[in-house]
């Protein structure tokens, strides 16, 4: 379970002064559900997810993940989280297997458990064909599978995906979306960010729309459609976001 309470992040920028990247965001994510963080570029999605993954520290507020505080116990939080984004690249000079093993060891797995876990994941994701191939020699699809294997090696209850399909072709993107679904079916708590409406429509149980650093609405797709008398998610998104968007531009 993820509980964010008043999560805020401010950066200092030399030219523009203080920037509020995330402003007082609160939400709760339950196990076995997929939460979609929907927003335009620069809305604050990545910063929010990075704070949950303890890669960044919140300026104000906090979040607990499986009962661990992101500020107080970042290492315990990370042990419970699988984090995947288009920015999380592979170590090019390691083989796929070495790469996954490295992260298994960093997660404190002993060698016997690690071997069993790695064999299991490589079978499940059909990765045995490129087990010993170096990561810089992998195709995009193989790389994505290797990244997925990394997030799974310690079997975390929480999965965080930051625009995971960004820049991927349809086939590879499908690998990811079906993986996200599988995570939910296995009872994991899943939160992912995207600006692709169709993904949200297909995957999400709950949609969080974020714009100008603020969480504007949190609802199921059906509720959103009712509320705004609109079927198309893109139209709903525009309706929700537009007043805040112009305000942000004026700032």
């Amino acid at each position: 379970m993820i509980e964010a309470r008043g999560l805020s992040k401010r950066f200092q920028d030399k030219k523009r002064g203080e920037i509020r990247a995330v402003d007082n965001v609160s939400f709760t994510c339950q196990p076995g559900k997929i939460y979609g963080l929907l927003g335009a570029n620069g809305a604050g999605k990545t910063t929010t997810l990075r704070m949950l993954a303890t890669i960044l520290e919140p300026t104000d507020g906090t979040a607990t993940i499986c009962g661990h505080d992101v500020v107080e116990q970042p290492e315990k939080v990370r042990a419970n989280v699988g984090f995947l984004s288009t920015a999380t690249a592979l170590y090019r000079r390691l083989t796929a297997q070495e790469f996954v093993e490295y992260f298994g060891r960093l997660n404190g797995l002993d060698e016997a458990t690690l071997k069993k876990r790695v064999d299991d994941i490589f079978n499940r994701l059909d990765m045995n064909g490129f087990r010993d191939r170096r990561c810089d020699k992998l195709s995009t699809g193989m790389m994505q599978k290797t990244s997925i294997a990394r997030t799974l090696v310690h079997d975390p209850p929480i999965m965080i995906f930051d625009e995971p399909t960004n820049g991927l072709d349809i086939m590879t993107a499908r690998t990811i979306t079906s993986f996200i679904r599988e995570c939910r079916n296995n009872g994991k708590t899943v939160i992912f960010s995207t600006h692709i409406m169709s993904e949200v429509e297909k995957l999400c149980d709950t949609i969080d729309i974020i714009q100008s650093s603020k969480l504007l609405t949190e609802n199921t797709l059906a509720q959103l459609r009712d509320q705004h008398h609109e079927q198309d998610l893109e139209e709903i998104f525009i309706k929700v976001v537009t007043p805040h968007y112009t305000a942000a531009e004026a700032n």
Partner: protein, 404 residues
């Protein structure tokens, strides 16, 4: 503090480093082959050039001396020197290196000498030009010998013994053992080499493991794993340190071997005398070990400083432009230690890099000033610890890790 996590990071970084061509070239190939080939090759070249310059028969122009046939005859008979007749543009010829020197014998020189009048023989040369110096030396030696003969004859004519002019002799004799003599000559270079190579060895991995990781997008991957940032930075640091030390170790080892080979070769050739003999540098295991013990805190200092600076960069290229000027920061104190006359003082022993350079000079010469060794080891260790502390702190700053 978990050694296991640090070890996991270190092992992975080592695996990656050993698979990286650029790292292998900078930490193994270059120190093992390039530096010894360059330095020994340069040394051999210098020896052979000096030898060639000495073998060349320099042209010396004779000016005047028509009324002093005996002197002219003697000059012409000199070995390895060619006397050419006087021309008006003699100065230009020396400057243009067409002739190496000119000797001017004043009019009536021989008769003046016979009448015991004082005269001046002038030798014109191109100062600092090696071949001109050799030619001048030969002419001067001949003229001085001629003068000595005149003195001898005059004394004999008056029935006076030679000791009238030379009541006693002054001689000098070296009592320092040969390894100390070569140590004094080469100790500076060894320290300089070790320090510089520690730096160059650390440089590439320092950039690859920080800015390179940002550039390749793996920084976010590793930061999302449960390892603490301190363990991560320590694992990286130990790999950089390993590279620094192995670069220095390999190069000193291969330098030592090549010096021995060169010494053997020149010894066999049996020519060249003193100047080639001094090229032979004997490094005992004790010297090598003590130089390395002193290099250890320096390597720690470099690894931590280079890693911290490179961490600020977003890309490998940016890191390169930050670290290249660092080479000068290191080279200047290291060269200062090589200057003749610069010796250890309590104040100098607190200046990083310079102090270790100076100490290495002493160590190679076989001198162990234990109080200096203690001060230098301690002060460098303090600097190194401070640098490592800053590196760890920097790794915890978001503004450094995610600089945009």
């Amino acid at each position: 503090m978990s050694l296991r996590s640090v070890g996991i990071v270190y092992r992975k970084e080592l695996t990656e480093a050993l698979r990286d061509r650029r790292t292998l070239i900078s930490t193994i190939i270059v120190p093992l082959f390039l530096f010894p080939v360059l330095s020994v090759g340069f040394g051999a070249l210098a020896v052979s050039l000096v030898g060639k310059a000495k073998e060349e028969v320099p042209k010396v122009m004779l000016r005047g001396g028509n009324d002093s046939p005996a002197v002219v005859e003697g000059l012409k008979k000199l070995d390895k020197i060619q006397i050419v007749p006087d021309t008006a543009d003699w100065k230009d010829q020396i400057i243009n290196k067409e002739i190496r020197a000119a000797v001017e014998i004043p009019a009536g020189f021989q008769s003046d000498v016979a009448e015991q009048k004082s005269d001046t023989v002038k030798v014109y040369n191109y100062e600092g030009e090696m071949k001109s110096e050799f030619a001048t030396e030969k002419v001067e030696t001949y003229m001085k010998e001629y003068r000595d003969r005149v003195v001898k004859d005059r004394l004999a004519a008056k029935n006076l013994p030679e000791t009238v002019l030379k009541p006693f002799e002054v001689t000098r004799e070296n009592v320092a053992p040969p390894e100390k003599v070569s140590g004094a000559a080469f100790g500076g270079i060894i320290g300089y080499m070790v320090i510089l190579l520690c730096m160059t060895g650390a440089m590439y991995p320092a950039m690859d493991l920080t800015a390179g990781e940002k550039e390749r997008g793996t920084m976010e991957t590793i930061l999302s794993s449960p390892i603490s940032r301190m363990h991560l930075v320590l694992g990286k640091f130990f790999l950089i340190l390993t590279a620094a030390l192995s670069t220095a170790a390999l190069s000193v080892l291969s330098m030592g071997l090549s010096f021995n080979v060169l010494g053997h070769y020149t010894g066999q050739a049996g020519k060249g005398g003193n100047e080639t003999a001094s090229l032979v540098l004997k490094l005992g295991p004790k010297t090598v070990l003590s130089v390395f013990l002193m290099a250890l805190p320096v390597a720690v200092l470099f690894s931590a400083v280079l890693m911290t600076i490179a961490l600020f960069a977003k890309t490998y290229k940016e890191a390169q432009s930050y670290l290249t000027p660092m080479t000068f920061v290191v080279i200047i104190p290291a060269i200062a230690a090589m200057l003749p006359g610069v010796e250890l003082t309590p104040k100098l022993s607190l200046i990083p890099i310079l102090n270790v350079s100076l100490l290495c000079k002493e160590l190679v010469a076989g001198t162990y000033h234990w109080n200096y060794i203690a001060i230098i080891f301690a002060s460098t260790s303090v600097y190194a610890a401070a640098a490592l502390f800053i590196a760890i702190k920097m790794f915890q700053r978001e503004s450094v890790l995610f600089r945009s």
